[in-house]
């Protein structure tokens, strides 16, 4: 029902904007860049503190469909001239992310901010910068929307 979808997104957006305006509450390193409609939002992500990705800025693109929140949104890193996706064992060079919360483990209790924070902590806890296995094959044949890929979630220790 699009009613659920639009109402919830409006609420989330409202909350995020309030948080962003208040420096005390704003989640560190995560910033809403653009949210003009209820279809595609852009965030900028930075990993603060000591980490492999120090001083690197990434952009996240979040796309919603009418099934939200029953289905997870499509989240991927932006690949452009100005920003590149991080080199992480769960991030492919086309920006697609292999994360269980974006697939099987998604539930309506999560939110867009929760996704951003999860991804941020995923980057922060990374021990070694490397590309995922089979990156080239996947990038060559991947669909545009990462939700169309059947990720196999393994190696949660990374």
């Amino acid at each position: 029902m699009s009613v659920v979808y639009s109402r919830r997104l409006k609420k989330e957006l409202h909350e995020i904007q309030i948080e962003q305006a208040d420096p005390a509450k704003r989640a560190a390193g995560i910033q809403l860049l653009q949210a003009e409609d209820l279809k595609t939002w852009y965030f900028s992500l930075e990993v603060l503190g000591e980490s492999l990705y120090k001083n690197e800025i990434f952009h996240l693109m979040v796309r919603f469909d009418t099934e939200y929140p029953f289905k997870s949104p499509a989240v991927q890193f932006v690949v452009s001239d100005k920003v590149k996706p991080p080199v992480h064992p769960h991030v492919y060079t086309n920006g697609h992310i292999c994360a269980s919360i974006l697939g099987d483990d998604w539930s309506p209790t999560l939110s867009v901010m929760a996704i951003c924070i999860t991804i941020q902590s995923m980057l922060a806890s990374c021990k070694k910068k490397e590309l995922p296995e089979g990156n080239d094959d996947y990038v060559r044949t991947a669909p545009d929307n990462p939700k169309k890929t059947r990720f196999i979630y393994h190696d949660d220790t990374v």
Binding site: R7, R8, K11, E12
Partner: protein, 551 residues
């Protein structure tokens, strides 16, 4: 703060927040109509019933989660359902799942049956053809003696050898020595002895056959079966290579020889590989025919060792042929007007050795300046590959057809030889013709007419050897007879297979000879081709740059 003496229910919450749609509902300001709320688990999450039902439905449908897996995301408490869940529905659901599993098994079974029946059909076709080939090649009498038309009476090894016959016939048209003699294995070797055939021994024999020089005639002691004297097999093989097509193809020429230059796959690979080399070597060359309909083909004659030497000597001067390198190349044009048929296009290959160069110069003189070369250079690899594929499509058919027709050709030629033998006694001796003996006749002696026939045959072809060969052949015949005595039919009956094999050999030699003749004629035509001059009449003279004092 009010003390609650009873357990609070969902209605006691002052503000209800649905964790799915994030809608708030205040206790004192419910929407109209008020939606149903549910608290399905042990933690504080509450939700609209409709939202939760939809969430559960999504989980079930898209993730295939069964009822036992639906739980609260925060506390993990299983959701329990109440309401309409009759035994009938549960039963039908489980039956449905069991049937689905069963259905998977069925589909695998169907696929397997399809494959097996397909294979069985091919097997039966090949076996039928094999029986037909044996009938043709060995003659109807031997066929009746060995196999009979009733498959239930066939010996067990027939079911292995007969299906192999068509494959080995087709494989015999390759240049590999082992494959070239393979038709003998299923076609002839098993039959003379009723004992099971040792495949390894036969393969060994097949290998030794082809490389046996013409002088050696006597069979090695301990040879199991020798149905065809070696000379007939090591008779110079003449076959055609088909390599390096250049133009659009028409059905390849006659390929019916005992050997083929290359297999089809190699042919397809060759044109792209040859192209760079050909381009270098052909910079000065010319394709005789004009561009467009003029496709030029090259062919190559690859002959057995003995014949190879002669051929090169005659045409190109003394050149030592490499062991297995391609032989000299003749260039022959495609004659589109020649039509499809036996004397059709010729296909060949750019020689990769220096001896090709001298022929190149010949061609260069014979032909006008190279426009066709440029056109050919412009063709991309895709077009070349397409042509190659078209080639093998038609030429493959000719190869297979020729291979499978060999038993029939053998029979016809054998019949022709028989006819001749009625007229010419020498031929009669050669083919060792005897009147057919009814199967019930008692066994003849070891070295009977069959031995005499074999001795005469060996003597005839053993002329290259010393006189000692005669004794050897006599011994060989005795040994041979000894082995053949195990099967009386072979010892007594008319050796149809022998004249059939002879006839086939003669046919093949004649065919290849015709092919060589064709090539020679075409080459001659190419060399001596001139373009006819026509007059300048009718052209406006001012357009021509005439000399001031025309003669």
């Amino acid at each position: 703060m009010t003390q609650h003496l009873h357990e609070p229910t969902i209605d006691d919450l002052s503000v209800k927040l649905c964790f799915i749609c994030r809608e708030e509902e205040r206790h004192d300001n419910p929407p109209d109509p008020p939606p149903l709320w549910v608290h399905p688990c042990k933690c504080t999450l509450v939700a609209h019933e409709s939202c939760l039902v939809r969430w559960i439905l999504t989980q079930q449908r898209d993730f295939g989660r069964s009822r036992g897996e639906l739980k609260c995301p925060q506390c993990g408490e299983l959701y329990e359902f109440e309401g309409y869940n009759p035994v009938g529905l549960r039963f039908l659901n489980s039956v449905n799942r069991a049937l689905s599993r069963f259905g998977r098994v069925i589909i695998l079974f169907c696929a397997g049956t399809l494959i097996v029946s397909f294979g069985a059909g091919i097997y039966l076709t090949c076996t039928t053809y094999g029986a037909f080939a044996v009938h043709e090649f060995l003659g109807p009498d031997m066929f009746r003696a060995l196999l009979t038309a009733n498959p239930t009476k066939w010996p067990w090894h027939a079911w292995i050898h007969l299906p192999l016959v068509p494959f080995s016939l087709i494989a015999s048209r390759t240049s590999s020595v082992l494959w070239a003699t393979s038709p003998l294995v299923p076609l002839l070797f098993p039959w003379p002895s009723t004992l099971p055939v040792v495949a390894a021994a036969n393969a060994e024999q097949a290998g030794t056959w082809a490389v046996r020089p013409p002088a050696a005639v006597a069979p090695a002691p301990g040879t199991r079966v020798r149905d065809v004297p070696p000379r007939a097999i090591s008779w110079p093989h003449v076959g055609l290579d088909q390599q390096g097509r250049q133009g659009p193809l028409q059905p390849g020429d006659e390929q019916e020889g005992l050997q083929r230059g290359q297999r089809e796959q190699e042919q397809q690979e060759r044109p792209p590989q040859l192209r760079p080399q050909q381009q270098q070597q052909r910079q000065q060359r010319q394709q005789a025919a004009p561009p467009g309909p003029g496709e030029q083909h090259r062919f190559q004659l690859q002959v057995g060792e003995q014949f190879h030497l002669e051929f090169t000597h005659v045409l190109f001067g003394p050149e030592g042929p490499p062991a297995d390198a391609p032989g000299p190349a003749l260039v022959a044009p495609v004659n589109p007007a020649a039509g499809a048929g036996a004397v059709d296009n010729l296909v060949g290959e750019e020689p990769q050795q220096p001896e090709g160069q001298q022929e190149q110069e010949e061609e260069q003189q014979a032909q006008p300046a190279g426009q066709g070369q440029e056109q050919w250079d412009e063709n991309d690899a895709g077009a070349v590959a397409a042509r190659a594929i078209r080639t093998t499509g038609a030429s493959l058919g000719r190869l297979i057809g020729g291979a499978l027709a060999m038993p029939t050709i053998a029979r016809i030629m054998g019949a022709v030889l028989l006819r001749i033998s009625h007229i010419v006694p020498l031929v009669r001796t050669i083919i060792a013709h005897r009147p057919p003996v009814p199967p019930a006749a008692p066994a003849a002696s070891l070295v009977g007419l069959w031995g005499a026939a074999s001795v005469s045959a060996l003597r005839l072809f053993g002329r290259a050897g010393a006189n000692a060969d005669l004794d050897q052949s006599g011994l060989g015949a005795k040994l041979l007879g000894g082995f053949l005595a195990t099967s009386n039919e072979w010892a007594r009956s008319d050796p149809v297979w022998w004249r059939n094999a002879l006839g086939l050999g003669i046919y093949l030699v004649a065919k290849d000879g015709l092919k060589v003749l064709h090539l020679l004629l075409a080459k001659k035509e190419l060399k001596e081709r001139h373009i006819k001059n026509k007059s300048f009449s009718g052209i406006d003279l001012t357009q021509l740059d005439l000399m001031e004092h025309p003669k």
